[in-house]
Symmetry: C2
Subunit: 360 residues, 2 copies
């Protein structure tokens, strides 16, 4: 098995001689003291996993760097979420890879797959008994749908999160006025474009002038603003009568502003609260009672809840991508050794679009 | 018209001689400075309304004293809610009355009706053009469904609020574990009994030992506790695995506790936030992100949104009442002059069940 480990072609099973490099993984050194620092993580050489009955050995090729990974790095993770990691443990995360060896039905060497044992170069997965559950379950990818870069973002959990948040959670309608927060981010940029493609009027917010330009000029949103300059004024200006849907990846002051500007029967997709991930949680929105007086629905969700809709979401997203209605910029980092920097950059808002680490 | 004004029988149209008493209404004297005080309101003699074409003159008989009335007494009312009252203006509120004179199709003297121009003894209503909108629209009541006490509470907006909150907003299922806040109050006590009758396990909270006894011994809830002694411990004890549904009439610390104890895919009916009505708003729940990690749905609602379901709710509630599965204790006050005390008592938690003022 190990003799084919570094082979990245689908049909070739010969020895590559790279086996001696073994495996590497990203581990938590210590729980962050506030914002995550690069040296809170380390890249460590490890043993190559030993092939086991019923398992699939995968060479990871493209790592998805997701904000939610931060949620497991504090001593206690949020209620209902995956357990916190202890110092010394390896991170996990969505990743695309290629099957190197398989003893599991339905998987053959060379297959392109998607699973949740990222932050390492090689992963051994038991399709029938996976660590992180449904959301991260091993699944075979259709190469015809698009390149690996598309599969890890737009056609992976990133795309599913945006798609389910818009269409299932927020019940998006073509005449909705929609505000997307963190709209230059991986999920936000897909959500914003889905809303545009659906016929909605869309305003996006982001944390820099460059991102605001990106939202207007590249993504073609109807309006965009830098939240560091204030939230209420641009929202009022965009639509004095208020918004119908708010896609929340931020929490705190953003959610408060949404509760101010939402119209009666408005809907909020509570996707994330990055304002509170990496340091002090922001103040809680003190106008939640607006939800009662304006009949607003706030629906918290994890993409994993909608895992059964992934094929449907993938199909829809791939169609939009092929027709040119969806753009997913990549913030690319090279090699597992860059993964700590990638996650720090992504959490601090220094990346645009989908942040990935190219592993091979 | 005025010669029949004080006549409370359905068939008799003769003069009563009481006309000289005229009308009285409850007015706002000044915006409350914190908690509402009795002398922030006054009962003032006024002219009898003059019958007008297309209108219905109603002698109000039973006034519903509702917490939401407080929302209009501050200088600004919550977004999306009915406008704030100015000092000198009369309060409004749900009320049952009898038609005295009618120039509107479908209404005849003696008819029992339900409408929103309470806090006065006589009201003149144009069925086609009402001040407060759908929720408070004039409707004829079926005397066969039950006595006026039932019509103003269980079969009125109180019952609709509880019914819609449980069945529509929270999608109540028989195997749900349910927490009802303010469970000895008008809406809470109906919501709690609806959940019990639906097969759920129900825990109720209230603000005094007497109310806790009432919840257990009279309403037959599975458990009850006094929130002044803490929220987390009784909830954990009742169901260590967490609750499925929380009916929120309180907000603040109650909503925070719910977000702690709700299970994944839990549902919250955001009915009210009385903790913030009458004085300083409580701290906002700082654990709202639990909604994301636990896939929790929080749905704010006003009963008026479900006004079209009122006939269905009334039928269901009346059936349960007749079969003995629903109890609605009344906190009765006599005469319009007692209305200011009634609303102050209700807001400060000194009443149990449905608070009403008997007007005639």
């Amino acid at each position: 098995m190990t003799d084919t480990a570094m082979n990245d072609t689908a049909s070739n099973n010969t020895t590559t001689g790279n086996v001696a490099q073994g495996n590497r993984e990203v581990r938590l050194v210590r729980h962050p003291d506030g914002a995550l620092a690069v040296d809170d993580l380390e890249v460590v050489p490890t043993e190559m996993p030993t092939m086991a009955p019923g398992h699939v050995l995968i060479r990871n090729t493209l790592l998805s760097v997701d904000a939610a990974t931060r949620l497991r790095l504090d001593p206690v993770s949020p209620p209902g979420y995956l357990p916190a990691l202890k110092p010394g443990e390896a991170l996990a995360g969505m990743v695309v890879g290629e099957v190197v060896e398989s003893d599991a039905e339905g998987y053959a060497p060379g297959d392109l797959v998607h699973h949740d044992l990222g932050y390492r170069e090689y992963a051994l997965v038991d399709p029938d008994n996976q660590a992180l559950g449904v959301a991260g379950a091993l699944s075979k990818l259709d190469r015809e749908l698009g390149p690996p870069e598309l599969q890890v973002g737009l056609l992976g959990m990133t795309g599913l999160t945006a798609w389910a948040g818009m269409f299932v959670v927020a019940s998006l309608k073509p005449d909705d006025v929609v505000w997307i927060s963190a709209a230059a981010g991986a999920v936000g940029s897909v959500a914003a474009q889905l809303a545009k493609a659906h016929g909605c009027r869309v305003i996006g917010s982001a944390g820099s002038a460059e991102k605001v330009t990106y939202l207007k000029d590249v993504l073609g949103l109807d309006a965009a603003f830098n939240w560091r300059d204030g939230l209420d004024e641009p929202l009022s200006e965009f639509e004095p009568d208020g918004i119908d849907v708010y896609f929340d990846s931020v929490g705190g002051d953003h959610l408060k502003a949404a509760l101010t500007h939402l119209r009666p029967l408005g809907r909020v997709a509570l996707c994330g609260a990055i304002a509170g991930y990496d340091g002090q949680p922001p103040a809680a929105p003190d106008n939640l009672f607006n939800a009662t007086t304006k009949d607003i629905n706030l629906r918290g969700f994890l993409a994993g809840t909608f895992a059964d809709r992934l094929p449907e979401a993938r199909k829809h997203l791939a169609e939009l991508w092929r027709s040119g209605d969806l753009n997913l910029d990549l913030a690319k980092y090279e090699g597992l050794e860059s993964a700590p920097q990638a996650i720090v950059d992504m959490l601090s808002g220094r990346t645009t679009g989908k942040c990935v680490v190219v592993l091979g």
